[in-house]
Symmetry: C2
Subunit: 401 residues, 2 copies
């Protein structure tokens, strides 16, 4: 067993980039004068060909790996995936994590001050789509001098962003890695999002999204929203195994509406924790971006047509017990790509943990990612060798001249 | 095609029965001086052997079939199942529908006045279990002079009551019909109930269950609770077919958090309708009864042991697309009964409608129920003939004497 600490990227620092040029959005609105926070791990190689972009899902951030000097317990959300010797090996790759605009972890979002009014944006923050986020990420890549990513990768909503990159910027993505994702939300998915949003919006402390001005937080709504979400992240099997019908107090029922079952107290605890750090307007905004994602929409429902312009190689991964975005959704992506003659690797991982499996370190899953990124690293090395050979050839010609 | 109106039980009247003797509950509490409302359809035969009890689920009532003279649109919730010529043929059976105590359709419940305080019960109404409801129903049966039911039947929570009858009063149930039911809730089932309860309890208009005294109703919480429940009643397939990603306004997104998708507006409509007639304390109470139902609990988790004392014949029905109480749960019941040598008929109906299928008139499902109740009717007829022959024999002996 390798020492876990040795495999960590260690202490990391969040960086911040300012964008003065307004970002035009799909809705017709635009975001003026915004900032993105991001983190990087590893070193960008000489020909800038080893960059990997990690896109986050609903409640994650740019803090993908490592820990902060002043917050040693705040470990990145995909720390088991990214680090020296890990599936995405930071000794070989330059990994970029970025917090999307509209989120609540440091990039410009509903909690930020609207330069036009001097007040917090709140409900005036524009509605973002997955494609809008990709355009914002592309600008960050420009600023970092990354013309083409070795891979763009994400799970769930992050996978949607990776897919959107593949059709919005086909020449900038060598490999697209979409895990536990879907080409569009189902009616049931939208329904769960809608209930969560109703819980937030109808909380009297929401104040139409201007709760910042009232010094309150719609805690009750956020908690209910989180509980609903959490249920859909876990498989029925995992819940049965971890909690079953276990009672907190031991053997007997309390004949009350208090948290008597372990699953009740677990959900309440998760919800309370979440409501302390997550922004309610961000919850609305991100769930709406999920609802809206549907690349086939502009192509009469034909996903293959929507993905016709892609040029990347693809890795698509699903989990057998994921009932939020089931394997069939990933198969739909694979079929649409194959119809376009793309190079696709597809794996349906037999893991018990439901949608959340993409964040966990199932051995089969991690072995797969490790092997796939090993292949990418070899391509990067080969490309670098080719570049070095080309430079040497030019130098030799110049010397002869 | 038979005329639907001819197959209706027609105009029905709700009846009311007063119980002066306190009802001792499983929690140790008791309910003093209560009333039950009920309806009956058809005629009780001479030897009182053709009675069928229908137990209701979360949001239904004693109004099983027919309509009221002054509310012609208020059709009973299982009107497609119960009536002349329908699967439960009221020309042959005497059908009883009863509203359980704690519910909000006329029987004593949280909205009723507590005789001890002169105030509405609200949160002081005792917590009921499925078994407590069965004891209350048994008292009603006593008062109606029904010693033994030809069948006790219910779907979902109603099926749990039918099962509870079979082990609490084995000699009083000839046939137990449990549809879309389960021997216990899973952690995921309890989790959904808990979120619904949190939405209600944390609504500031709930006032700890004393909202009646404040002249308000926790509408927001009830609506969110109903939306969550509703999602679990429908199958993913049904939602996809009925709503998919259809937009209300037509082609384009509105880039807002309004109801844009048809599924959003459908859920909001259902929720608004529900919150107008359903009592918040009742919602808590009934979901808790669901959570608590677990006959195996008192038998070290052995369901077969819990059902060892049953004597009825059983019909167990599940639906392939029901993900709330999946067919596996029904199979668990069947296996426990078979281990006790019971006579069990089991059907897994291939219907697309999820948990709600038990309320719909899928032809295969209704044909099955019709055939099963035809068999019961024949047993009833045979028993009656035997009784009449016995009476005639006694009369003949008396005449000779």
């Amino acid at each position: 067993m390798p020492d876990t600490e040795q495999q960590s990227v260690g202490i990391v620092q969040t960086q911040r980039m300012h964008f003065a040029q307004p970002l035009a959005l799909r809705s017709g609105a635009s975001l003026a004068d915004y900032e993105l926070v991001y983190e990087t791990y590893g070193e960008l190689n000489a020909d800038r060909s080893n960059a990997v972009l990690i896109a986050h899902a609903l409640n994650a951030s740019h803090h993908v790996a490592g820990r902060y000097a002043d917050q040693p317990d705040n470990v990145g959300w995909w720390d088991n995936m990214v680090g020296p010797g890990k599936p995405i090996d930071t000794r070989r790759f330059f990994v970029v994590g970025v917090n999307n605009p509209g989120s609540c972890f440091g990039s410009t979002g509903p909690m930020s001050t609207n330069p036009e009014t001097g007040r917090r944006y709140g409900p005036d923050f524009p509605v973002f789509t997955v494609e809008d986020w990709v355009h914002a990420q592309a600008r960050l890549a420009d600023a970092l001098g990354i013309e083409r990513f070795a891979a763009i990768m994400g799970g769930s909503l992050g996978g949607m962003q990776a897919i959107a990159w593949s059709y919005l910027y086909p020449q900038r993505v060598a490999h697209c890695v979409a895990i536990a994702s879907t080409p569009k939300l189902s009616a049931q998915n939208i329904a769960f999002n809608e209930v969560a949003r109703r819980a937030i919006i109808t909380d009297p402390d929401f104040h139409g999204g201007r709760f910042y001005d009232h010094g309150v937080v719609p805690t009750r709504g956020l908690q209910v929203a989180r509980m609903i979400g959490h249920i859909t992240y876990l498989s029925d099997d995992t819940m049965a195994e971890r909690f079953g019908r276990l009672l907190r107090g031991g053997a007997g029922y309390g004949f009350s509406f208090d948290a008597e079952f372990e699953i009740e107290s677990y959900l309440r605890y998760q919800a309370e924790k979440f409501a302390k750090y997550f922004d309610a307007n961000t919850y609305l905004l991100i769930t709406r971006a999920l609802d809206y994602f549907d690349p086939a929409q502009g192509h009469a429902g034909d996903l293959a047509a929507a993905l016709a312009g892609t040029a990347a190689d693809f890795l698509v991964v699903s989990f057998t017990t994921d009932w939020r975005f089931s394997p069939q959704r990933s198969r739909d992506i694979v079929q649409a790509l194959l119809r376009n003659g793309r190079d696709v690797t597809y794996a349906e991982v037999d893991a018990p943990h439901g949608h959340d499996a993409f964040l966990l370190d199932d051995p089969q899953y991690h072995a797969l990612l490790r092997a796939y990124f090993e292949r990418i690293a070899e391509e990067v090395d080969a490309g670098q060798t080719a570049t070095i050979e080309a430079i040497e050839a030019i130098e030799a010609i110049e010397e002869r001249a």
